[in-house]
Structures are given as structure tokens and as C-alpha cells.
Amino acid sequence: MASVINENKKGKWSGDLLLELYSNLLVEIWEIVSALIGETILELLFTLAIRRIGDKYPFLVSLKVSEDGVSLEGVKEACRGLPPLEVHRGFQSLITHLFHLFSTLAEGVISRELFPKVFQKVREAERIISQK
């Protein structure tokens, strides 16, 4: 029983860290890409990506996207009880799909701006998961 509590505590701790990290990462992606293609198109791409990846990772559907940006407000609740690895994989798939859409539209133009900043944060997320 004690080990279960420990695991939960540990899991929640990692999950919160991950959420914070991905929240910052998505905000950063939003800021960089909206400056290139505008908020309307970006909102559309985020919505498409969430719909696509949300099939496999339903917690992502609670991400709120509007022309003002992306918010993880509802995601915390949706992630409750999920293993951090699942949360990490969900966000990773979402970001990969967004990159796929960006490169479909503008080949390397968006990725060139984005990749150096995003890559480090994805590595950081992987580090958090591996520590667990």
C-alpha cells in the first residue's frame, strides 16, 4: 500500500512538472509561429492537431485554443490519474504532428525558427521522465 502511495506522489510530482514544461513549450510555439503565419491559421492548425492526436490521447482534447493562444487550464484535471509517461507521449505526439503540419505548409521555414527552441524543452521532458 505504502509503495502505491509513493508511486502516486512521485507520479503527480512528475506530471505537474511535465505539464508546466509543456505549457511553456506550447506558449513558446504559439508565440514564434503566430508571428510567422498569424493567429487565425495557427488556431486552425492547433485545432486540427488536437483533433487528430486527441483520438489516441483524449486528455489533449481539453486543451483550449483560441486566437489568443493555447491554454492548459483544463488539461490538469483531465490528466489526473494518468501516468506521466502517457502525458509526455501525448504532448510529444501533438508537437510532432504540429511540426508535420508546419513542414507540410512551409517546408523548413517554420521548423528552422522553431526547432532550436523546442528541441531543448523536449529533451528536458525526456529527462524528467527518465528520472522517474
Partner: protein, 322 residues
């Protein structure tokens, strides 16, 4: 709508070379799957094909629905976009592109694309400019689309898709003016479905509406391309037949009468047969001095057809009281 899109593409094609170095600019419009390309004159057909395929691929990815390239209607406009000495290699291939969705209020209406035979032809600044242009185009196209749908509401009968009475009046005024001043022939045929009230009373208005739609299709299928078919009201229709003499308009009216008579109409669980009566008036034969008089003459001829036992075509009789 296609005319407006074409105008936008041409206007963009004229202005874009001042901002970007590209081989081809394209606009793919979802409605009707139309793709307009504005290209450098020396652009080889193989590159055109690549651009088309790429735009369809990107649009499919955005719409999350696979679109068959063969379903897309491509229209190409070739212009000199580069200096004379810089013609494109006939073996040139698509090396880079910027493609953006045309999005308004969450709807993807199509996409626009800048394409080049050079690698890394576009940078972040190009993308910024292009996205601003894309916004403006999307807003303009949306405006055109709304205008076009309002225009449709104003001239079409919502049930039958035929022109409505208002359009009929306008069209007749135009055709009458052409005939009266140009001395060309103009015939008017007024068609009425015999005993239509019985259909409504027996089978209900929904079934009656289906009959109206079916007969409307028969009317549309029976006339020439330059003719106008309009629903005048209830079960009454008008055909405006420019440059048609009495003989020709009689043939058309008879064709309709025969077609309706030999058609079985499904109403509810039953199959019924119906007939139509028609009245014809003509300028200059009947010496009408106004479009109103021409309408009145067709109406009187129709009255004659009804009085004569229905399921017949009558030509206005100059001895009839107007």
C-alpha cells in the same frame, strides 16, 4: 464565384512578383475544386503537375480528407514573371513552396501557394508577407461568397431552383427591350399544372412540392440554353424564349406537354399521371406594345387551353379580349 476567384488570382499574380521570386502562384478553392495557377511563361508542364499535386496534398492534409487530383479543375494563366534571358529549365522541378490555408471563421475554404524551382527560395519574412496576403484574400473571397449567396437567394425560387418571379420580371424587361427595339422575335410561354390542387389536397403539400420540383426539372430539360424558366407562383411557370418564333415556341411547349403527360410522378405510395396546359404569346406577331401586354396575352392563351379541356397548348388569338 469562379470569375471573382480568377480576378483575385490575376490581381495577385500581377502584384506578387514585386514581393517574391517565384515560378508559380496557385489558389485552390474548395467549392467545385477549382485550382487557378498564375505561372512564369517558361514554366514546364511537369512542374505545373507537381504544383497541382502538392497543393492537393497540402489541402488534403488540412482538410483531413483525401482529394483525388483528377477531380480538380485546373486553369493556368502564363505570364512573363522573369527577365527574358532567365527562362526556366524545361526539366525544372518543384524545389520549394509556401502553402497557406484560406481560413475565415474556422472554415478552410481553400489554400494559396507560392512555388519555386529553386531550393530554399522562401524565408521567414516571405512567410510573414504571404500570410498577410492570404488573410486579405480569404476575407475578400468570403465576402464574394456571401454576396453570391445573397444574389442566389434574390433570384432563385428556393423550392424548385428555377428563377423566381422577380428575376423573371427583370429578365423579361431586358429581353422585351431587345426585341422591341431590335425587331427580333420573342416568345413567352405560360405553363400551368392541371388540377394541381387535387395533388395537394389528396397527398399533402410535401408531396405536392416534390411534383413541382419534378416538373421544374422537366421544364429546364426541355428548353434551349438561352431560354429562361421561372416559377411565377404556385403551379404557374413562365418560359422566356428569345429569338423564338411561334412555330419554335409551339414545338417547345408541345414537347413539355408531351413529356409531362408521359411521366409517372411518385407521390407518397402512389404513382400518378399529370398534364400541363400552356399559353403562348409572341412579339412581333401579336403586336404587344409592352412586356405586361405580352404576359397578359400568354395568360389569355393559357385560359383558352384550360377552357378547351386542358392538356393542350394554345397560341394567343388576336380576336381574344385582352
Amino acid at each position: 464565384m469562379s470569375v471573382e476567384i480568377q480576378e483575385i488570382v490575376e490581381s495577385a499574380g500581377v502584384n506578387l512578383p514585386n514581393l517574391f521570386d517565384f515560378s508559380s502562384f496557385g489558389l485552390l478553392w474548395k467549392e467545385g475544386l477549382l485550382l487557378y495557377l498564375y505561372q512564369e511563361e517558361s514554366c514546364p508542364p511537369s512542374l505545373t503537375q507537381e504544383v497541382v499535386k502538392n497543393m492537393v496534398r497540402v489541402f488534403s492534409a488540412l482538410g483531413e480528407e483525401q482529394i483525388d487530383v483528377d477531380r480538380v479543375t485546373v486553369q493556368v494563366e502564363k505570364r512573363k514573371l522573369r527577365p527574358k534571358q532567365m527562362t526556366m529549365d524545361p526539366k525544372a522541378t518543384l524545389k520549394s513552396h509556401l502553402t497557406l490555408p484560406l481560413a475565415v471563421e474556422g472554415d478552410i475554404m481553400g489554400c494559396i501557394s507560392l512555388n519555386s524551382d529553386q531550393s530554399n527560395a522562401f524565408d521567414a519574412q516571405d512567410l510573414q508577407f504571404f500570410s498577410v496576403i492570404g488573410y486579405q484574400m480569404a476575407a475578400t473571397l468570403k465576402h464574394f461568397q456571401r454576396f453570391s449567396s445573397i444574389q442566389n437567394i434574390a433570384i432563385y425560387d428556393t423550392l424548385t431552383d428555377l428563377y423566381n418571379r422577380r428575376y423573371f420580371e427583370e429578365r423579361l424587361a431586358l429581353e422585351a427591350q431587345k426585341s422591341f427595339y431590335g425587331g427580333t422575335s420573342l416568345s413567352l410561354v405560360m405553363v400551368d399544372i392541371d388540377h394541381f390542387k387535387k395533388v395537394n389536397d389528396t397527398f399533402g403539400h410535401t408531396e405536392g412540392d416534390k411534383v413541382l420540383c419534378r416538373i421544374s426539372s422537366l421544364l429546364k430539360a426541355s428548353v434551349r440554353k438561352k431560354d429562361t424558366v421561372a416559377r411565377y407562383g404556385g403551379e404557374e411557370f413562365f418560359l422566356i424564349l428569345p429569338e423564338a418564333g411561334l412555330e419554335e415556341s409551339f414545338i417547345i411547349a408541345e414537347r413539355i406537354r408531351h413529356l409531362v403527360e408521359n411521366t409517372s410522378f411518385d407521390v407518397g405510395q402512389a404513382e400518378i399521371n399529370l398534364t400541363v396546359s400552356s399559353g403562348i404569346s409572341n412579339f412581333p406577331v401579336h403586336r404587344a406594345s409592352s412586356k405586361e401586354e405580352l404576359v397578359k396575352m400568354a395568360d389569355l392563351a393559357l385560359y383558352d387551353a384550360k377552357r378547351g379541356g386542358r392538356n393542350r397548348v394554345c397560341i394567343y388569338n388576336v380576336n381574344q379580349k385582352k
